[in-house]
Symmetry: C2
Subunit: 233 residues, 2 copies
DNA sequence: GTACGTTTAAAACAGATGTTTGAGGCGTGG
DNA sequence: CCACGCCTCAAACATCTGTTTTAAACGTAC
């Protein structure tokens, strides 16, 4: 197979930006994820992109708008890929070709994330890290510009997972999805809590290895019996 | 009970700092977690603390040193509390009073985090969020000043969990600990991926509620059967 | 009272930041 | 040839940054 089934002709979707604008986006993406929004100066970006300083204010309106553009460029195709995975799964279920299963729903998230991590043309693992930055440092603009698409995606996953977990209340399903997504998300982003120490074997960033250890963990967690008793035991 | 069993007389451990220094630390802590290190100016800190600008460079050496102090003030007692929990558990096991159990190990992490989240005197949930920020935006200095203590803590948890999971390879144990800590950490920090959308019931920040849903998830995930097959299924 | 170390006050420092300006270059269509 | 939009360039803009400096107030011990 020469063309990945996950990609829908990347070269044709991205002529929105001129060459200099793309150079700026690429440089900014790497620097934003490495240093953060505030710590990355426009002069550093333009210097690394090999363009003039004023170019960023010409092509994008401001530094904040640039950040939003950097994020949106990667997010849109990824989100649509997630939706596509859910469509395929639900079509298979409707035709009786597949069972509604927790693991199947999880894989609808894992596969796009895995493909993203392996494809440098779409930002690779860098974008996932950028996404995680946006999450903890919550930038207003990005959150607002995302909330609609993201909300749609979440409700789709919630519905699918709810069908795979009959007998669980909506609140339980929300929590399972929240916790499951949280692990997967930060695992792909490489936010290893243990790696601060360094000797962890986890620091290996091989996406396939991540999936191998991640999926059983998440599936088992989502399938867990609800906790009845309170916290202070 | 008037004094929490988790706290060891907070009032006596913290006279290291003068009153103005403490005011600076408190203001800086809130602003750092809200805006980030780079986006928080010293003028904003001193203004909110009601002290003079030069005071921060007098009491602490520099802005970076201030950040380190802000972090260290909360981290040290929390880490020692985690170690204490492990000590207690292992002592119980040695005396045959408790089984070595995954949930018991998990609770050694959850209890201090829960106590921290509920105690505003020790930074409350703010510190956990600050911790999560330090994690994704990895500040060199903080990481270096932490790596020793943090490494010690991690190896203690690893050993305890490894004993609770006989038959699993060291690599597997590392992964389980990594994934389990990751969920717990970000759950307490309130880094809800779903909350970007807003309608999630998860956005309720009640620590006890977090624990109720979190612990079964994590325990089941850690106990999961290792995943044999590769990613691309 | 005087000298001393400690803490605070206001001002100034040099440098970096995001943004804007105005002039010029390049290519296309008249 | 000219003219027009698109784009790039170097320079300057005002503002904010962390840090330092200078002076003054405070409490304490001689």
């Amino acid at each position: 197979m020469k063309s990945s089934p996950l990609s829908t002709d990347e070269s044709a979707r991205e002529p929105k930006y001129s060459e200099t604008a793309t150079r700026i986006l690429d440089a900014a993406e790497g620097l934003f994820v490495e240093l953060g929004l505030e710590a990355t100066s426009l002069r550093l970006i333009t210097q690394q992109a090999g363009v003039n300083l004023a170019a960023v204010n010409y092509h994008f309106r401001s530094k904040d708008a640039l950040f939003e553009a950097v994020f949106a460029r990667r997010f849109a195709p990824w989100a649509s890929e997630c939706l596509h995975q859910l469509d395929v799964l639900e079509a298979q279920i409707a035709r009786g070709e597949a069972h509604i299963d927790v693991e199947a729903v999880v894989m609808c998230y894992v596969r796009p994330a895995l493909a993203l991590s392996k494809d440098p043309l779409r930002g690779g693992a860098v974008f996932v890290r950028l996404f995680s930055r946006v999450l903890v440092e919550n930038h207003r603009q990005v959150r607002e510009s995302l909330s609609r698409d993201w909300g749609h995606l979440v409700s789709r996953y919630t519905a699918a997972l709810g069908r795979a977990l009959p007998g669980l209340s909506d609140e339980e399903v929300d929590w399972r999805l929240h916790l499951g997504f949280s692990v997967m998300f930060h695992a792909f982003a490489g936010n290893d809590i243990l790696k601060l120490f360094g000797r962890s074997a986890v620091s290996a960033r091989d996406p396939d290895l991540i999936v191998k250890h991640l999926v059983p963990f998440v599936v088992a967690g989502i399938r867990a019996a609800p906790g009845g008793r309170s916290a202070a035991t």
